[in-house]
Structures are given as structure tokens and as C-alpha cells.
């Protein structure tokens, strides 16, 4: 048996195991870059993220996207059903156009019945002048993405009981409906981080009382409490104050989940070796929290916040539907659905329920997007 041999020369692991450029790129990448790579793999989440981006971008130019203004009334076209857009006329391609739109009174059913007059063809116009509006409240403008030519109307989603175009109203309604979730979540984010952070950092009786408070709030059915709180808002308030009031109410009951997450993460990460190491090296608490602890779970927080936006959007919709939330002239999807409150609508004017489609889309989008974020939030897990 030969003697055990040890090479006295200094050992350099890099000479034995060369990192390929890809490996190097991976090991040198920052945490956020890793998250982005991981997020990109979740195709559905990426798609939903882009979709959400488009939806939020659209509220900036909703006046331009909508063919009519919010409250333009077409008194000759009350309760008009959605108008089909055609491309082919008598076997010939004309581009998007609508036929003439006539109505007759059906005296048996007491309904207006609309029908297409296929002899008249009205090609849609693009980038045309229509209802005037003040763009961002700054400039006078009347440019619209598309509108009907002279003598014709285009109601993609039909009209309501005052003859207002549903499509335009849904586009305008997005402004309120999708921002209320963001404003609400930022309020509850602040509350959640503050209270959860206090509980996790100080522990003791602060922790105990915050815990009890979260438990009380969580054990309460949300909607009845929202209803009770929004009944407090005075009728005399201006719409914009009602908006903030509702947002505040939605946020007041929503922070508990975030507070729990912050607290448990703080408690867990405080015990990690790298945290002890930082303490031993003499880092101050502020630096430890800001530099070492917070980045460790901030991505989780963003993900869970994203996942609780849908509940807020649904909450606003439900409250407005019941007439306890936003009120006209503010237009949100919930306010629009308020018109669809009775069974007649389902039977006779089903297109008044169309505002529910964007509600479903945005809630699904936020759910998948949040799922992707949550998976990406921990890029080291495989």
C-alpha cells in the first residue's frame, strides 16, 4: 500500500472546473435578473402581464379609443342590441363596415326590434373626427380610433336604456374599475408592511395585539362589513370623495394577509445565518432590515399583493352593483352592471351584462400574472 500523496502546489478550483459563459452569466446575475428569467418561462403569466399592461395603457387614451363620449345619447337607438361588423358584402371584400340599422316597434311585446338594412353599406372610418373631448383635461380634441360614417351609427356592444353606447362606456369604466384595485392595494400594502413589520420586529405584546386584530378581521365575512362601511359614506359627498372612501374601505379589510406574510417572513429570515453574520460584522438594524431582510421577501410581497387585487376589483363591482358603492356620474363596470340588476335584462337585453366580460378577463389576468410572479419570486427554488 503506497503512501497517501498530497500535491504541495496551491490548488485553484477554477483551473479544474472552467465555467462556461452561460454558467458565468447565471452565477453572476442579480436576483432581479434571475427572477425575470424565471418569470419569462411562465408563458401564460407573461402573456397576462402584457395584457394587463395594455389594459392600463388604454385608460390613458380611453377618449381616443371610445367611438363616442361617455354620456352621448342616441335617442333614436334606445336598447339597441350589439351591431354586427361585416367584412364581405355580396361576396366582395370591403373591409370592416356596418349595414344600415333600422328599428320597428313591436307592439305585442312592447319592444323595439332592430334589423340590418343590407342595401346600405357604411364602411367604418379610422382616425376620424367624432365627439369632442378634452384630452387629459388639457387639449381640445375630437380624434377617435374609429367611428361610423355620416348617417350611420356603430354600437359594437349595443346601447343602454338612455341610448348610450355600451362599448364606449365600458372603455371609460375601465378607468375607475382597474385603478381602484391599484390604489386600494397600495393603501393596504402600506398598512400591511407597517403593522406586519411592527409585529415581526418588536414581537411581544405588539405582535400579540396585531395578531388578534388580524384574526378578528379575518373571521368577519368581508362583504357585509364592506356594505356596512360604505353605508357610512354620506350621500352628499362628491363622486371623487366617494371613490376614495370606497378604496379606503376595500383597503381597510385587506391588509391582514400582507401583514401576516411580512410578519412570518421577518421572523423566519431574522434567524438566517446571513443575518447573524451581518449582525456579527456590526451592521445596524436599519441596514440589516433594508439591505438583507427586505430584498429577501419583497418579491413575495409584490406577488401576494398582485393576487389580492382581483378581490378588490370584484369587491368594488359587487358594492356598486348593490348601489352601495360608486354612483353615477362616476362610471365603473360595477356601476354599469347596476343596470343589469333584474331578470328582465337577462331575458330581453342581455348585452347590458357585457361589462362582466372585462371584469372576468382582468381577474383571470391578475390571477395568472400573480401566480407567475409568485413562482418567480423565489428564483433559487427549482
Amino acid at each position: 500500500m503506497s503512501e497517501h500523496y498530497v500535491n504541495p502546489a496551491p490548488f485553484d478550483p477554477h483551473r479544474i472546473e472552467r465555467m462556461s459563459p452561460e454558467q458565468e452569466k447565471y452565477y453572476m446575475a442579480s436576483q432581479w435578473r434571475l427572477m425575470w428569467w424565471r418569470f419569462k418561462q411562465h408563458r401564460l403569466a407573461l402573456f397576462c402581464g402584457v395584457l394587463l399592461l395594455f389594459m392600463y395603457a388604454s385608460i390613458l387614451i380611453c377618449e381616443f379609443l371610445a367611438p363616442y363620449a361617455l354620456s352621448t345619447r342616441h335617442t333614436d337607438y334606445i336598447y339597441s342590441p350589439p351591431q354586427p361588423v361585416h367584412f364581405m358584402h355580396e361576396g366582395r371584400f370591403v373591409g370592416p363596415f356596418v349595414y344600415g340599422w333600422d328599428h320597428t316597434l313591436n307592439m305585442d311585446k312592447l319592444l323595439r326590434e332592430y334589423s340590418e338594412d343590407t342595401s346600405r353599406v357604411y364602411p367604418l372610418q379610422f382616425f376620424c373626427a367624432g365627439d369632442p373631448y378634452r384630452f387629459w383635461g388639457l387639449w381640445e380634441a375630437d380624434l377617435h380610433l374609429f367611428c361610423a360614417p355620416e348617417g350611420a351609427k356603430v354600437f359594437l356592444f349595443g346601447t343602454d336604456r338612455l341610448g348610450r353606447d355600451m362599448f364606449s362606456r365600458i372603455i371609460y369604466g375601465a378607468r375607475i374599475s382597474i385603478t381602484i384595485g391599484l390604489v386600494g392595494i397600495s393603501l393596504s400594502f402600506v398598512l400591511g408592511i407597517l403593522l406586519g413589520g411592527l409585529a415581526g420586529y418588536y414581537g411581544g405584546w405588539v405582535d400579540a395585539s396585531v395578531q388578534r386584530l388580524t384574526e378578528v378581521i379575518r373571521s368577519f365575512p368581508e362583504l357585509p362589513l364592506w356594505m356596512a362601511l360604505s353605508a357610512i359614506l354620506p350621500v352628499t359627498w362628491s363622486p371623487i370623495w366617494i371613490f376614495f372612501g370606497i378604496t379606503l374601505i376595500l383597503a381597510l379589510l385587506d391588509w391582514t394577509g400582507l401583514a401576516r406574510a411580512v410578519r412570518s417572513k421577518l421572523l423566519a429570515l431574522r434567524e438566517e445565518d446571513y443575518c447573524t453574520a451581518a449582525q456579527l460584522m456590526g451592521a445596524r438594524p436599519g441596514r440589516i432590515i433594508g439591505r438583507h431582510l427586505l430584498p429577501g421577501f419583497f418579491s413575495h410581497l409584490i406577488a401576494s399583493a398582485t393576487l389580492s387585487i382581483p378581490a378588490m376589483i370584484l369587491g368594488e363591482t359587487a358594492l356598486s352593483f348593490l348601489g352601495l358603492g360608486l354612483r353615477p356620474p362616476i362610471t365603473s363596470w360595477g356601476v354599469l352592471l347596476n343596470e343589469a340588476q333584474n331578470i328582465n335584462v337577462v331575458a330581453v337585453y342581455p348585452w347590458l351584462m357585457l361589462p362582466v366580460v372585462p371584469v372576468i378577463i382582468i381577474i383571470l389576468a391578475f390571477n395568472f400574472f400573480g401566480d407567475g410572479l409568485r413562482d418567480a419570486a423565489d428564483p433559487y427554488k427549482h
Partner: protein, 332 residues
Amino acid sequence: MGPYILRRLLIMIPTLVVISFIIFVIIQLPPGDYLETYIAELESQGEWVDPQQIRMLREQYGLDEPFLQQYWTWATGMLHGDFGYSFEYGLPVTEVVGDRVFLTTLISICTILFTWMVAFPIGMYSATHQYSWGDYGLTLIGFLGLATPNFLLALVMLYFANVTFGTSIGGLMDPQYLEADWSWAKFKSVLEHLWIPVVVIGTSGTAAMIRRLRANLLDELHKPYVVTARAKGVPPFKLLCKYPLRVALNFFIADIGNMLPSIISGAEIVAVVLSLPTTGPILIAALQSQDMYLAGSFLMFLAILTVVGVLVSDIALALLDPRIRLQGGASR
């Protein structure tokens, strides 16, 4: 076991006290009170109100007393079963509430059962066939249920139930049974109407439950004991039922605590749309007309229902799962 239940019961008391206080603050917050609204309404109709009578009413209901005293009267009254007086109905709150709380409870329990019945097989299928088309499809349907606003789904279902089955619109039974005694026909009529709210409220909870059951089962399915059993040649289905499912069962019971608040919320709004004789429609009316004791008592009932439901699920869980009892302090 005994000490655990006792501890849970003791924790419940301060929780309910805090809840009752929050509720009282909320119902007191709107400016003015019911009598002011009432007087304004009478005067707008050109009727004259006797100030003497108003003063008497105020005194009787203690509306001028300080806030804390009013709370004390209300809270201690509840302990004696006296929930206050509904101005709107001119009746003690307990008489107005009566069956409605029972019906809300009935609907909630049916909904939980429905959610289990749907979520259980789907969750099992999704977990055992992870990343298959079936898994994706069922998940998508679950998400759709989650994203559709309850109230609208209720309307649409009501319409189709009316068109296809001829179910009468609104309410929980056909009109002719409203005053009738309980009979088989009445019971059948109630069942015919009950499934709509149960399915509608169930849809939103089912999706979340499927997701959680799937995640739980997936965790269990990759554990060494499952691999061992499979290596020994236990048939897949028997294996699934024998071990991982039993572990996941605990979670079904535990989940009642998470589900109850959202089920009761859903029940409220669906009840408004379907005009069910449950707490929903009356609660809204009471909130809008500032009928404070009625609104407060309803909120309190709903809170008690939730807290007790969570308690029952926790105790059932402790009976099933010895780990819970041993952990002691952890409350959920």
C-alpha cells in the same frame, strides 16, 4: 383534548367582544340616527311630527346617552337574548331575524357540502394527472368560476332555471308554500330553489379549494412512504385512498375556517339578487335606513356564525389530527 377546547373557547370570548365593539362603532358612525331620518321623511311628506313623541322615543331607546353607555346596554342585552328593537319593523330584532339566520346557516352548510363534493374528485384528478390536458382544463374552469361575479351568475342561472325547469323566480320556495306548513311538497319546492344559490356561491370557493387540495396532494405524493408503497406493488387507486388522501382530509376540515367568511359574503349578495328570505336583503335595507340595532344584530349574527364555524372546524381537526393538540399554542 379537554384543555384544548377550553382554551379555544376562552380565546373566542375576547374575539367576540372586540367584534361586537367594532360593529357598534360602525353602525353608530353614520351622521344622525334613525329617528332623524324618520322625521325628515315624515316632514317631506307634509306630515307634522309631535316633538313630545319624538322625545319619548329618544328616551326609550337611549339615543341621547353617551356612546359607551349605549354600547354597554346593547352588548349586555345580547347576553340576555335581547338584541334591541328594529325601528323599521316596529318589532324586537329577534322576531325579525328569526328564520332568516337559520336559512343563511342552511345555505352555508349546503354550500360547504357542495364545494367538497365538487372539489374533492377534481382536486384528486388534477393532482394525479398533473400537467395533463384534464388538469389544465379543470383548473381553467375553476378559475372562471372564481372570476365571474357571483351576482351575475345568480341572475343568469335564475333565468335558465326558469326557462328550462319552470322554477319560480326569486324566493326559496314556490309562492303557494309561503304560509303552508312543512310538507313533502314544500320541502321539494325548497330543494328546487336551493340548488341555485348553493351552486352560485359554491363556484367561487371551489376553485380555491381545488388549487389547495391539488398542492397538498402533490406534496404528499412525492413523499418516500408513497414511493415505498408503490414499490411494494400497492394498486395506485388504493394507495391514493389509503395514505395521501387521509392526510389531505385534515386539510378539508381545516379549510372551513377559510371558506366560511367568503361563503357568508357570497350568500349575502346572492341573496339580494335572488331575493332569498335570508339575512342579505334585510341587512342592506337596515344599513340604508340606519335601523342600527337590526343592522348591528345581523352583523353580529354573521360574525358569531363564522367564529363558531371556525371553532367547530378547529375542534374537529384536533379530534382527527393528534399533531394539532400537541402543538398547543398555535391557534390555526
